[in-house]
Symmetry: C2
Subunit: 512 residues, 2 copies
Amino acid sequence: MHEPDPTRLAGDVLLTDQYQLTMAQLYYRQGLHQHKARFEHFFRSYPDYGNHQAGYAITAGLRTFVDWLNNAHFDKYETDVLARHPTISGGHIFGTDFLGWLREEGDFSELSINAIPEGRVVHPGVPLTVVEGPLILAQLVETALLNHLNFETLIATKASRVLDAARGGTVLEFGARRAQGSGAYSVVRGALIGGASGSSLVGRSHELGFLPRGTHAHSMVQAFMALGMGELGAFRAYAEVYPEETLLLVDTIDTLESGLPNAITVFEELRKKGYQPLGVRLDSGDLAHLAVRSAEMLDKAGFADTSIVLSSELDEITIWQILEQIAEEAPRYGVDADHLIKRLVYGVGSRLATSQGDPYLDGVYKLAAVADDGVWQPAIKVSDTPAKTMNPGAKRSWRVYDQRGVATADLLALEDELVQPPLELHHPNQLGVVRYLSADKVSGLEELAQPVSTTDLPSPHDEVVMAQARRVADLERLDPGVRRLVNPHVYHVSLSGPLAKLKQEMINQASR
Amino acid sequence: MHEPDPTRLAGDVLLTDQYQLTMAQLYYRQGLHQHKARFEHFFRSYPDYGNHQAGYAITAGLRTFVDWLNNAHFDKYETDVLARHPTISGGHIFGTDFLGWLREEGDFSELSINAIPEGRVVHPGVPLTVVEGPLILAQLVETALLNHLNFETLIATKASRVLDAARGGTVLEFGARRAQGSGAYSVVRGALIGGASGSSLVGRSHELGFLPRGTHAHSMVQAFMALGMGELGAFRAYAEVYPEETLLLVDTIDTLESGLPNAITVFEELRKKGYQPLGVRLDSGDLAHLAVRSAEMLDKAGFADTSIVLSSELDEITIWQILEQIAEEAPRYGVDADHLIKRLVYGVGSRLATSQGDPYLDGVYKLAAVADDGVWQPAIKVSDTPAKTMNPGAKRSWRVYDQRGVATADLLALEDELVQPPLELHHPNQLGVVRYLSADKVSGLEELAQPVSTTDLPSPHDEVVMAQARRVADLERLDPGVRRLVNPHVYHVSLSGPLAKLKQEMINQASR
């Protein structure tokens, strides 16, 4: 065994589970590796955070996966690693035949990918990503695909909910210190696609073309205090170095008695020099109450346009509650609640970066069909739990818009079906439960998955900005009940008649 | 903005929050950057998974942080990125003076680190990592330190609990598909330090000198079925390619009616050829019941020594409940429960990789003291919540063993204190609550933090193996009540008299 090579991580073709490689060798040895296969990636259920649940998800991570695909190769380094893996009796699990094939032909350019574009609203059971190509290659990408898409989708979904709760306020991602090592990079991208305006993480933000955000920590005030210069000295130093960007953390000693008065002193000094202070940050205590009192003091001192940044264990529910409390408490202090809410900025860290409450998306990657002599053979995995039995065969997915232009259902159909209104929407698990939509109730039918190019890619920044725009457009066409933070209305994902029939036949056949 | 460079991630000095850099420039501009500072990293509370809670944690991530330190440099690439960050009026946030200093002197070799070695049992409030050196450098490592140590400690702790529940059974980490992108690498290391025997993740396992684990997925059986060769054909192919390592997933169609009979057929064929089959894997359904029925069928067929691997949404509570159910149900089928439990292997994925229930450790990195003219000035951050008020000053931490050799408390004392029995153990937050330990009740006093070398490092494999051994030794010296999975007994973390006095004085002073 040798030292890890820290430069190999990002496009690491060995970001894979051992069984992908043992299966790949088996396909190779059995001569099955070139059979055309179709895998579908989908998630089974919305994130459920315990006392609140998502009614929609925002898909993300596709570009990260495409970057992985483009960088992942079996070079000598990788096949040497695999060649060392012993069998029980001291032989080699992986033979030189297979490893040679991996090095010569084990790249992923033969795969074709269809996917729902990043940033779109998505629902359980609908394929987000469809991979088609030689069985061996389509199998080998599973782990990386699930890893990148499941996690970024999870975080984009959480961020989107935080944005919803913040009523359009600015949300910043602050979670690097509680993320999973380099997983912090994925957090940033997921959060941006979910609607965050920026992140504190420096490198990854710049790579994505967003300016990292942040000013100072308690430690700066502590250091000045320990050196006898006090909180006021710390704030003055900050304003001196960053006169255009003075945003001060006011809770190191006592927010109302020390932090805010000192901040206002420094803001007044800045104003005399012709600078506009940016605002204050509150990181502990009763954030709603302190925001009201901060607004009161800042307004009186003539700094009504400064931001008030809130941080400390925020999530969608806490933000919702803070805004409720502000609406109630602000008038008592002569503060305009609406004006205060508009100046709030939310630094959301740990609970966003880990999707606290439900830290993983149950996304899976299932074989839907294998071609035999050029004919698709549908594949199925039956389960004791009906909801876990997959929808078989090669499929296409459509979004159905009602007469108001609101998305009313997603419809899965077989690949060669002609889908047009009137529509039969079959329940995915309950045989015979059908909803009919006459043609006049359907204002649009939109195919969800699009071909994915792995070349001529937009810049990482453009990719995120386009995804952000798709999210905004989709949320406008989503029923408000589905967006509700707690106990949302259930969106319908349905099967076409022919797909429902095939599924039932295959279940009957498998259980014979 | 330019394309991300995927090779730069692992030792990325820009795995940092923006405010670390703005503070660093401020220290530089104010001439404070060379003041000697001491930061302490500690966590505030054990992971609380909701209906169950940890009573101890296992520290991990130190070596990953040291590798980051050794690879993190401000080269031209990084300072160019920072130079592009504009101010509001279009100037530059970071000046050429500061960026030049970063390139010339911004490496971390001047820092000295003391830490509790990886794998040890640790408790809230006790510094796990202590960083001493120039204020600017000690500040700049905060994000990466917290990121690596918080997360690996979280996962090592969860893995250790899973091991406890498994009563010494073999635990494998299977969570890459639900981890945070490259965070999967950190999952593997944390899980191994917490006692897992291996992981499915290929690259990272090899880098750490552990063989990755895994055999095949449902998709392989599905593919053989779709191509008309059936489950038995799939199993036969597997046994042909991997005769020494045949472990078959038996739940693709029907575990008891199809999977197990087919597996036993193939096992018998293997036996005739002189091979020992490894076993079966169960991934859905009532795992306890199916394990009993699998044992019954395998025993009857003469395969009583094969493994039975369980996977699917496992965690410490599920494993505990499965073992309870097996003890009750096995006799009804003529199966020896103890023998069955000994042959079980647990593939633990999503819930281990994300520490489901509590997906982040609340570890913080606080300025404890700054030197002024060579004299340490203690620093403090006061909080409205007494438990969040840090313990000030430069400290040392000791573990106190009672007359049975069991760890009875951790004691924080000032750096220059002489700590010897009899001991006064002051409650960290409740003034005047003191426990006395006479000399005859103390069998040992052990200093917890050790100097950390950043050169001449052991191999990554040896480092993990040493950590695993430390965990085993510490758990043997831990009260069983503290190890309890649910509602554990509370371990004491106490302050010495002089430290309690300093803390009270500084709180009084700060609130004046």
